[in-house]
Amino acid sequence: MTTRLQKEARKDSLLINMGPSHPAMHGTIRIMLELDGEVVRNSEVEVGYLHRGFEKICEHKTYFNLLPYTDRLNYVSPLINNLGYVMTMEKLLGLEIPERAQYIRVIMSEFSRVSDHLTALAAMTMECGAFTVFLYYIKAREEIWNFIEQTTGARMTTSYIRIGGVRADLHPEYRTLLDKAVSMTRDVLRDVSGLLDKNKIWIDRTRDVAVVSPQTAINYGFTGPCLRASGVSYDVRKAHPYLVYDRMKFEVPLGDRGDNFDRYMVRMKEMEQSLRIIEQAAAELPPAASPADLMAEGMEPAAAIKASRSQKVADPIKLSPNLEGSEKDTYPDILAPGKGHIVPPKEDTYTNIEGLIDHFKFFMRGHGIRPPKGEVYFSVEGGSGEVGFYIVSDGTDRPYRLHLRAPCLHIVSALEEMIKGHYIADIIPTFGSTNMIGGELDR
């Protein structure tokens, strides 16, 4: 089968295939190149190697069931994908979220943004030979993931942000790891700035490579750091504020040339702003109505379940057999009130018949979360741009149509133009600067 490039290529040029499984390609994507010496004359990008039919699967899953699939879109910042989907659903359901949960969401999504930028830059710098920088970045990301793991119980596939709030309250000791992650990231950013910002090799490799003008960036539907590197000030957190972002003080860093160096610099500055937001959110976090240590008192769960067989248990129960921090007492802090959109507390499910019925109704086929008929679009600022969800509901317990606006689809579609006229060696850092994530691009 002949590709477009093969048909259009000049007779004397060399055709080379890069990918789909090439060691320098993070993500399975194929770039066919028409070369004149080492210069890329033309190229063709082929995607779809990681297509799992995300949208088709979602049409057959309940609104509650499909949340883990959203983790696997942009798997470097799963919490933002959770947030995008969940907030779209909340718009459709018309839910108001408790303040504490909103702050927790802000902290989580900013940490995810930092981890996303760290990963993107780590890959990009490593491909230019800066292996030390790669290790520094990953060291900081490790601390961030430790924090995320402590509260959510998972490092990558978190499914932590739920319709109506969050899965569990912050870990009682969260502050230690939060401070550690913030200070470690600050140190790393300072070190990396020292290593790269005025580094001759780095500047030679990235300055004026793959320049994208503001007009081109807008025309291609760029969003996120790639758009801002071209000098266009658009950030969903500022343009359409959600959660409590309107209360946070932060700046939107911009680039001026739109080349690879600007895309690096914008990400570096954005991480600093994200750390600022995290600190503000952590300082302003409304206190929990029920302090976590109260939960140490009460009946043992096994004893409570045994006692519930003969009569209704009136005493508080010590620990539910679920994730720490999601006890019934914490529900008002982190979950919107009301039945039908949140998982009923496990304490009730296991000890009284009403709770069991609530649980059953929530998970039973054809019941559960049933939003009204209609359609909705909502977007949040993801790691690589605007993550938007378009959901069409027909009133049943599963979406009639769910579409994801993947930010990197738009950016990768410009890759052919970005690498045109540059050297082969520039392809990989350019590709790295787009922060292409296969799970999100191919869905």
Partner: protein, 163 residues
């Protein structure tokens, strides 16, 4: 509020093209005749409204309803910070609509995706091929009548396990 001005101007400019104006959950939505899509989008792209960004383009399959397919297009104006949703019905047998590639370059891939997933063709598209699925794939996976578990392996699956 601001979107009201845009919609009024559009209704004045294209009185026959706009079939319905709604705002479900605050998202301003226009349902238009598909023949008018190109002109209408051209008008929105220019000053004073400057909807210069094509945020998203997708399609919904309403199997069993009168116009079966509906194209959904989200536009964004950076200058005014406004979003607008434009929908157009596409019906069998004429599964075609004007391509937006002459205005937006990201429409190239978005339209290829829709062609791949729904089988809607775009007149004026420079290179209409499948985007995610491979060449030779039969059917369009996101159509409602495409079974969830249908398998079309690219390489034939070996039937027996003996080596």
């Amino acid at each position: 509020m601001e979107n009201q001005k845009v919609i009024e101007a559009l209704q004045k400019q294209f009185p026959d093209a706009i079939l319905e104006v709604t705002a479900p959950l605050g998202d301003d939505t226009l349902l238009i005749r598909k023949q008018a899509l190109g002109e209408l989008v051209d008008f929105l792209y220019q000053k004073p409204f400057e909807f210069t960004m094509l945020l998203d383009l997708t399609c919904v399959d309403y199997l069993g309803q009168a116009p079966r397919y509906q194209m959904v297009c989200h536009l964004f104006s950076l200058v005014q910070n406004l979003r607008l949703r434009i929908k157009a019905n596409v019906e069998e047998p004429d599964l075609a609509i004007d391509s937006l590639t002459r205005i937006w370059r990201n429409a190239n891939w978005l339209e290829r995706e829709i062609y791949d997933m729904f089988g809607i063709s775009f007149s004026g598209h420079p290179d209409l091929r499948r985007l995610f699925m491979y060449e030779g794939f039969e059917g369009h996976p996101l159509r409602k009548d495409y079974p969830l578990r249908k398998r079309q392996p690219c390489i034939p699956v070996r039937q027996n396990d003996d080596d």
